[in-house]
Symmetry: C2
Subunit: 241 residues, 2 copies
């Protein structure tokens, strides 16, 4: 791990996967809904199928085929596809689908997050740089106890990561140069883009984000300014300054 | 005071004047800078002249004569005019002017604000709906201890209050209907616009915002959904639900 030239003045975070366990969170909400209807479908499989629709849905916006639409609406559209695919469409009314869509606001933080994120505030500003909307991130922050200074990300930029504009817009909103901002993520592709936009980068893995058989993002794929095992190691890293 | 039909789910706030004392804050920073240079100019008068440039500068943007530019830049431009007007131009280098411009991030909260704003969070989401930028509001939140859920306002809408789009964009970012959001301000004109945009409105006066001889906004000028004497009375009002 190298020591960066200048200590970051702000830390912006990927959220889904890096700070919160979307797979367990969505599965928990789905399981509750399934139980009420005596549905036996595997809720973890359901969460994974829903998440699989995430990147293609954003890609239509990133490629310019569609104008910016918030992730809440994309999640709701994707839910329709997943209910079709799983043969569960006839079990849920439109209102019940709206309720199920709020699963993405009820994702548990990984155990090292709440306490260490609070402590990180003494080192600089902290904000999400997620593809989630302000409305979603704000509700998730209350649920998962994430004490943000501001909510940045896709909605500020009206585009989706890994488009460079999203990282640049976050720095501009912070009033800082990209070199004074560190993007922190458990996903190498997010960091490759952030580095291209001029930001510092920080990585720790989340080895069960996709379940017990995860094969991607198990380790750093470049010489990120910070590489460690979790949020606590990021704090330890910053204390060397 | 009437009881609104539905309890607000979010409260968005005017900041300069309503939550923080800009006149004292700017005068304090100016006084320190003046002292270092043995300048005897009245720092409160200086703060008032600087603030006088605020509305005309935004008006050029609201009228479409100029694209959206953050308030930080407008404040910096306005500082040039005020230094000219007061004959102090030759005392400050460009770097010193940049430093002086950060005065707007160092404004003390009125005494009833920090504690009661924290308590308000149990009644709903809280966010600024100010003409200040995200960068400015974020730094001011740290200085004045304002525990926001998100930072909304001019920068989200790329326009300035009292353009209705600013209030509407805040509600949209919150994921709420305007009727579920209360705009809180010590300024009647802010609330007339918020009401026109469909929001609920809350008022309490700040009788010394403009100094001891203030003549405006000493009382409510309409039947705002909430009218009280300060932030504490807003909390008491909400506890009747």
């Amino acid at each position: 791990m190298q020591k960066p030239k200048n200590k970051p003045k702000a830390f912006i975070f990927d959220v889904f996967g890096t700070l919160v366990d979307w797979r367990t969170g969505v599965a928990t909400v789905a399981q509750k809904a399934f139980k009420e209807k005596s549905i036996t479908y595997d809720p973890f499989k359901f969460a994974e199928l829903w998440r699989d629709e995430y990147k293609p849905a954003m890609e239509r916006i990133r490629s310019g085929k569609r104008g910016y639409i918030s992730l809440d609406i994309l999640h709701r559209e994707n839910l329709e596809r997943v209910l079709e695919k799983t043969g569960l469409s006839n079990h849920f009314t439109s209102t019940e689908r709206d309720t199920l869509n709020h699963a993405w606001e009820q994702l548990p933080p990984w155990s090292d997050v709440p306490d260490n994120l609070s402590k990180l505030r003494k080192h600089g500003f902290i904000a999400p740089c997620s593809n989630g909307s302000i409305a979603l991130m704000m509700r998730l922050a209350r649920f998962a106890n994430l004490p943000w200074d501001a909510i940045l990300g896709a909605e500020i930029a009206k585009n989706y990561k890994p488009e460079l504009q999203v990282y640049k817009a976050a720095c501009q909103a912070l009033g800082l140069s990209p070199e004074d901002v560190m993007m922190v993520a458990a996903h190498n592709d997010d960091l490759f883009a952030a580095r291209e936009a001029g930001l510092q980068t920080g990585f720790f893995p989340r080895k069960t984000e996709h379940g017990p058989n995860q094969t991607i993002d198990l380790e750093a794929e470049s010489d990120w300014e910070f590489c460690g095992k979790d949020m606590h190691s990021l704090l330890t890293f910053l204390e060397q300054y």
